[in-house]
């Protein structure tokens, strides 16, 4: 029901449109630029002489005969075995999400249905734990993991990521389960179910929207993690993000920068697809904790 006064073009409105447009360009341009540039040679991507080279690919044509080259991708995926890091990331992310959600649903359901005072203290403790910088926690693990000989392997990293993920998962699923009416599981219990049976047969079938939203954020945490993986994984078990960082450290030689660029684009692609399919869930998850207070 836009009235005439609301739809009129005022300078304020014009300014706010311009502002949004500017933000969208700033948000999207770096991705577009890097994606386009990943198909060029280094002399074009990082061209001191003329930035137009990165668009036209003058040096790329000179060196490879075509305006686009997959040399960076070939270098990263085939020569530097980047697929191996992708496999490690796959394992870490899959198990982190799976275990986080299992622990989180049980705990979140318990917290939502118990009126005990200590349930509140558990949530408060989780909030404090959520604020701990990950690097401080890692500095607490390192010595012991070396002592017990569990440093460098994937299961250790998975367990640590699950634990770091718990405070957030617990808060989200707790507020989600609070919105499922108590009557549902309680009537099942009146009918003779135990608490676990009521959870299993009444709550589990209706919990998937909340679990999927929470799972997306667990996925993001595990996939984007650098701090834990770089300190706790040995070189042969590296996931993609520390691998990209070590590309940067060792490949100052001409051309190898493009391996890193290609790796960066490859690492961003799954996130792009994720946003494409789950935009609605991500937005609702971001705001779930906030709007409900």
């Amino acid at each position: 029901m836009a009235t005439k006064a609301q739809s009129r073009m005022t300078p304020l409105k014009l300014f706010s449109y311009g502002f949004v447009a500017l933000w969208l360009i700033i948000a999207a341009f770096p991705f577009f630029w890097t994606f386009w540039g990943s198909f060029k040679v280094q002399a074009d991507f990082l061209s001191k002489a003329d930035w137009m080279n990165a668009l036209t690919g003058a040096n790329t044509i000179e060196q490879t005969g075509s305006a686009f080259t997959g040399a960076g991708y070939h270098g990263a995926w085939v020569l530097e075995d980047f697929w191996f890091n992708f496999k490690n990331t796959g394992i870490v992310v899959f198990f982190t999400v799976l275990i986080s959600l299992t622990f989180g649903t049980l705990g979140g359901y318990g917290l939502a249905r118990s009126g005990f005072r200590y349930a509140f203290w558990i949530l408060m403790a989780a909030l404090v734990f959520r604020a701990m910088p990950h690097m401080t926690l890692v500095s607490g693990y390192l010595l012991w993991f070396f002592e017990w000989n569990v440093w460098g392997i994937l299961p250790t990293t998975i367990i640590v990521l699950v634990a770091i993920n718990q405070p957030f998962t617990l808060w989200m699923l707790h507020s989600f389960f609070k919105n499922i009416p108590k009557d549902m599981d309680e009537s099942a219990m009146v009918d003779g179910c135990t608490r676990f049976q009521a959870f299993r047969h009444v709550i589990v079938p209706v919990m998937w929207p909340g679990v999927i939203t929470t799972g997306l954020f667990s996925f993001l945490l595990a996939y984007n993690d650098f701090t834990v993986a770089v300190m706790l994984l040995s070189e042969e078990n590296e996931t993609i993000i520390p691998a990209i960082n070590s590309f940067m450290g060792t490949t100052q030689i001409e051309g190898k920068v493009m391996y890193a660029v290609a790796a960066v684009v490859s690492a961003t692609a799954p996130l792009f697809v994720l946003i494409l399919f789950f935009q609605r869930q991500i937005v609702s998850g971001l705001t779930a904790g906030a709007v409900k207070g």
């Binding site: 949004v20 930035w51 622990f103 935009q279 709007v291």
Partner: protein
């Protein structure tokens, strides 16, 4: 729910948090009380034709044995906390006594690694957070005015910088502002100074890191505020309009107060995340001009072959205490809300 049932539901998640979040904090404290072993030295006399000279060699075997028997090192009490790399009380006292102006004193304090990292971390947190709040609100209001079809696209594009891996996102920007990159080279041309580099000065490095910080976290505040805008009651807006409030007045007096609970939530999240700033410093290779608390812990632990557990532990514990202090207003408020509800 019975206490027993509750216990089994909460057990997995609680044990994960106790084992891998609470215990490491204790471990960090214990580590910080010890310090690395000194190397075991062997003094032997080597006699040659021109007399005997005592030579000192490191007994690697004994050192390794000692290391294995007591992996924590030797007890040092709170010594690590007050040494030069951490709180440095002696150095600060000296700087206070020797400096004739506050600027001079500050310059000396800033040279101490811990205080330099603390300054950057706090500056980053308290500059990026308000900027992100204000700009996020402006974009949310702007997008809310857009035609329906464009809103989805705007949110899709906005999500990219937020969800991208921090290390990767900052690398993408790094390649652009690098001396040979599109923005870096253009700036050099504009100022006609081929040696101008964003990495060369402290001020420019800090600006670059903060610009990245705003770029990366802006979508979070934008989307939260945008969701909040959908719940602004139409009646109140109309009433304000009828009373003659301009668009700007409605924004300040109706919309902003309505969003206040969201603002405190977003502020809490932003402070938590900005306080642990780490990846952009690695990506931008900015450590010469900007170090954060997380970064100096990382640097201690990365010391090849011989991580400085004590030093990292001390910095970690101070960082944890600071993080708790920063979020204490919110904790107190949540607690008050809870006790009010339960009575």
């Amino acid at each position: 729910m019975k206490h027993r049932t509750f216990f089994w539901f909460i057990l997995p998640t609680l044990s994960a948090m106790i084992l891998f979040i609470a215990l490491p904090i204790v471990s960090v404290f214990i580590q910080s009380l010890f310090v690395e072993h000194e190397q075991v030295l062997l003094v032997s006399e080597s006699c040659g034709p021109f007399g005997c000279t005592p030579t000192t060699t490191v007994d690697t075997e004994a050192t390794a044995k000692l290391q294995e028997e007591q992996p924590l090192g030797r007890f040092n009490g709170l010594g690590t906390y007050i040494n030069r790399s951490h709180l440095a009380f002696a150095e600060i006292g000296e700087a206070w006594a020797n400096s004739d102006s506050f600027g001079d004193f500050w310059a000396q304090v800033y040279n101490l690694p811990f205080y330099s990292a603390l300054t950057f971390t706090l500056a980053y947190t308290f500059i990026v957070t308000p900027l992100v709040l204000a700009l996020g609100l402006a974009i949310a209001v702007g997008v809310n005015n857009l035609p329906r079809a464009l809103k989805g696209v705007a949110i899709f594009i906005s999500l990219l910088p937020f969800l991208v891996t921090p290390l990767v996102g900052s690398l993408i920007l790094f390649w652009m502002v690098d001396g040979d990159g599109v923005i870096g080279a253009t700036i050099q041309r504009v100022f006609n100074d081929p040696s101008l580099s964003l990495k060369a000065s402290t001020a420019l490095t800090w600006t670059m890191l903060m610009v990245y910080g705003v770029w990366h976290t802006l979508p979070f505040s934008f989307i939260t505020f945008y969701a909040g805008l959908q719940t602004v009651p139409d009646d109140t807006m109309e009433a304000a309009q009828i009373d003659g409030a301009t668009k700007w007045q409605r924004l300040i007096h109706v919309i902003v107060p309505h969003l206040m609970p969201l603002v405190s939530f977003v502020t809490l999240m932003l402070i938590m995340d900005n306080f642990r700033v780490f990846e952009p410093i690695v990506s931008f290779k900015a450590e010469a001009h900007a170090q954060s608390l997380s970064w100096i812990i990382y640097n201690d632990l990365r010391e090849s072959g011989n991580p400085l557990y004590a030093s990292a532990g001390a910095t970690s514990l101070i960082t944890i205490i600071l993080a708790v202090i920063l979020m204490s207003p919110v904790l107190v408020r949540t607690w008050r809300d809870f006790t009010r509800k339960s009575h």
